[in-house]
Symmetry: C2
Subunit: 469 residues, 2 copies
């Protein structure tokens, strides 16, 4: 018997070319690598054996753009356009976030990802040491960075934020036994000053770092850049030294054909976020044009506050459906291509291993239970994974050879405790926001008591509005 | 103790005005009516009591347009535009459907609906007696009709199909103790001849029947009608006598403002099918314009073959997201309105009771389990139901006061047997299609053996294509 060997036996396997075969998977848990994919392996040779008959083993999903701590803000503000949503609702709340809130939101997000078969992600947020510790404990894979915002900051503070972005990317590169990689992550071309962007990009490139930023998300942000610089955003990003094979941009909704050509020429990847782009009415990204031009297009949920979940199955279905509408072609982004976007292409876009089940590749695997009415009849399992599956269909999640979820029970994290902690943290966060609002607006308050009990008041923004009336 | 009384205790309730309150629900199972919604009801007074603490009780979802037997074709053909998809893939298969296939697909669809909290639906298909029997046994509520198609038929056969549509609507009205209602259901303005449509509409109206048809689904179908009749499709439908307060039209994607005004003036309802409209690249229905004009807009999944599931939570999320994109306004169709579309508005559109939890109203209820990481934190339960929930979150489903699913276990149907039967029926259907193809194309076949074993051949269309090469 091989020590630290894991067998997945009796199931189907989704191959990198999107075929379904019947075979077993032999995993070396000490290296986290798939040793063999072949039929009829003998279970007695393996230390651990999972019977996955009735299931399909597919690559763990790769969420290539999110802000995981924002899981704590799920449902806090909806049904508003990006600018108002950010400035009126999200940023004021984020200003009140403590390290504890961020840890609570991050752990909640990790639980949700593992439960829905995601094994790797790229994340831009604050308090990266917290994220590093949480990802390490969870056993997942991630590319992390500090989200740099310099607008409205004093020069020294702005400069310090750039330094922090660079330092964090250096410090945590290869953390968690190499499962954690990093990137330099300025928020966007409109929220970081040009001189700092250029300086940061130059230093990040010199240090061989990856670069991640938001770009061309809404039409509103394009014109000001054109007016200010005379360049379209993507051209301006190239001028600032931000593009290249180590750069991945989130959204890329409002990119014209010249910008698509620039992205292709510089080998810059784009992360498509269809649910967020629909929810904030940002628009439809030209996914078919980007892919035809040779741009690597990954897939991300964006933060939960604009999604409102981290379920990559739901996201890849949105991508497949929206691509058809965007291209006016029902054949655009067919089922298998949408799954590739959520797995192999996402992994390539953020340069993490995984996204394909191959011998010698990392053992990052989502095991999906097919034995259910909504996957019946099984005319086409690939179609079902793209158009029907949700995260709730994932039975086991494996990352780097370790079982993170087994029969829907998390193995590395205490899901129940994390859920309770998150609920408590959210209540505390709301209390802080109420305190802050009441401090600023005391004169206009009908009632100066702070309504600390969640039950006694309307929820979220509505409650604050009522308090301020 | 009241006999045949059911208590749902300790949960939250979604009110018709989309507020969340904490109260118990008292149901009289003999009448199927909600007797009382109030806090602190004594469980000992009730014959049956369900502890729904940690859950929210919401109206059972109402799927206002589907073709339920097509659940048997899930994943059979994807990623093709409507016309090619129908004519090359779906209609040839449908020509091979036997009564047994239709029964199997219908029962599979009923299982899927109940599992995802749907309690009522409108269905257009064939072999309505089968559907009536299956819906009766399942305990659901439905408005059913025979889908009339007369193009390419001999005059006598075309006329017979109209007669069948009228006869079926008369025969099964008020079946299943009144849970089943009917409608006259010509397929569309392009698949039924004008003279037959006009005659059928006149007789249906004289008989006080409801009318349901597809309209303005793709841009391709609009121009031929304009060229042939000089009228836009909706105007032409009015000329034929098809519009009115008892008519509901599926899709309504390509309707102009004049047509919207006609729909509003005639009080004709529209059933929005966002997933199907995206998947077939049909377009974005002007839902905001329709609603602003006062048109009742319900929500439907369409058939599974173009969706690919019957999950109304996923559908209402698609509706909420797509409305924002269509209106270029992130405030369009906010969470609560999307839920209303899937419940009260759908029920109104197809004129079935339900869609709202009120005292004296029917007890058609979906009980959604909120105690899960993806509904954490609970800033806003209405937001979670619209933007996060899937059918898998439904714990109990109640229709007409009867428990159809309890703790995810179906009470009226044998889900496991139905799943097995559906898989067998699908295999049999594929074998018939292969036989039919081999009969038509014997000369061109590489191999005249019929590959009856599912495992030994590629699935669905791909297999047929390979066989024909």
């Amino acid at each position: 018997m091989d020590s630290s060997s894991l067998l997945l036996s009796g199931g189907k396997i989704l191959t990198p070319s999107m075929n379904i075969i019947t075979a077993d998977i032999h995993i070396d848990q000490s290296t986290g690598v798939i040793e063999a994919i072949e039929a009829g392996l003998d279970p007695s040779r393996f230390e651990t054996s999972l019977d996955v008959s009735g299931c399909v083993c597919m690559p763990g999903l790769v969420n290539a753009h999110t802000h995981i701590a924002m899981t704590l803000l799920r449902g806090y503000s909806d049904d508003k356009p990006l600018n108002a949503w950010l400035r009126e609702d999200i940023w004021p709340v984020e200003a009140q976030l403590t390290t504890e809130h961020i840890r609570a939101g991050t752990e909640l997000g990790l639980v949700e990802m593992i439960r829905s078969g995601t094994t790797a992600f790229a994340d831009m947020y604050f308090e990266i040491p917290e994220t590093v510790a949480a990802v390490d404990a969870a056993g997942m894979r991630a590319r992390l960075g500090h989200g740099i915002v310099t607008v409205d900051k004093e020069p020294a503070a702005a400069r310090a934020d750039i330094e922090k972005g660079l330092t964090v990317a250096q410090e945590f590169q290869q953390a968690a036994d190499g499962r954690i990689q990093t990137a330099f992550m300025p928020h966007s071309l409109t929220t970081v000053d040009d001189d700092l962007l250029a300086d940061g990009a130059e230093r990040a490139t010199a240090e061989n770092m990856y670069i991640h930023l938001h770009a061309n998300e809404t039409s509103d942000e394009v014109n000001p850049i054109v007016e200010r610089t005379g360049e379209r955003p993507i051209q301006h990003a190239e001028t600032l030294g931000l593009l290249g094979p180590k750069t991945f941009l989130a959204h890329g909704v409002h990119v014209n054909m010249d910008e698509i050509a620039t992205l292709a020429r510089t080998d810059t990847a784009v992360i498509h976020c269809p649910a967020s782009n629909m929810k904030l009415a940002s628009g439809i990204a030209p996914v078919s044009h980007l892919r035809e031009a040779g741009v690597t297009v990954g897939l991300g949920t964006d933060g939960v506050a604009s999604n409102n979940d981290l379920d990559m199955f739901s996201e890849l279905q949105d991508a497949a459906l929206l691509a058809k509408l965007g291209a006016d072609d029902a054949a655009a982004l067919p089922a298998g291509e949408a799954i590739k976007m959520a797995t192999a292409d996402s992994a390539a876009a953020i340069s993490l291993p995984g996204g394909r089940l191959i011998e010698g590749g990392v053992a990052d695997i989502a095991v999906v239970d097919l034995d259910t009415p909504h996957f019946t009849p099984q005319h086409d399992v690939v179609s079902h994974l793209a158009y029907v599956a949700t995260g709730a269909d994932v039975r086991h999640t494996i990352c780097d050879g370790s079982i993170l979820m087994r029969d829907r029970t998390l193995q590395t994290l205490d899901a129940e405790a994390i859920q309770d902690t998150a609920e408590t943290a959210a209540t505390d966060l709301l209390a802080r926001i109420w305190f802050w609002f009441s401090y600023l607006c005391r004169a206009s308050l009908k009632d100066s008591h702070l309504p600390l009990s969640r039950e006694s008041r309307p929820s979220g923004r509505e409650g604050i509005r009522q308090l301020l009336n």
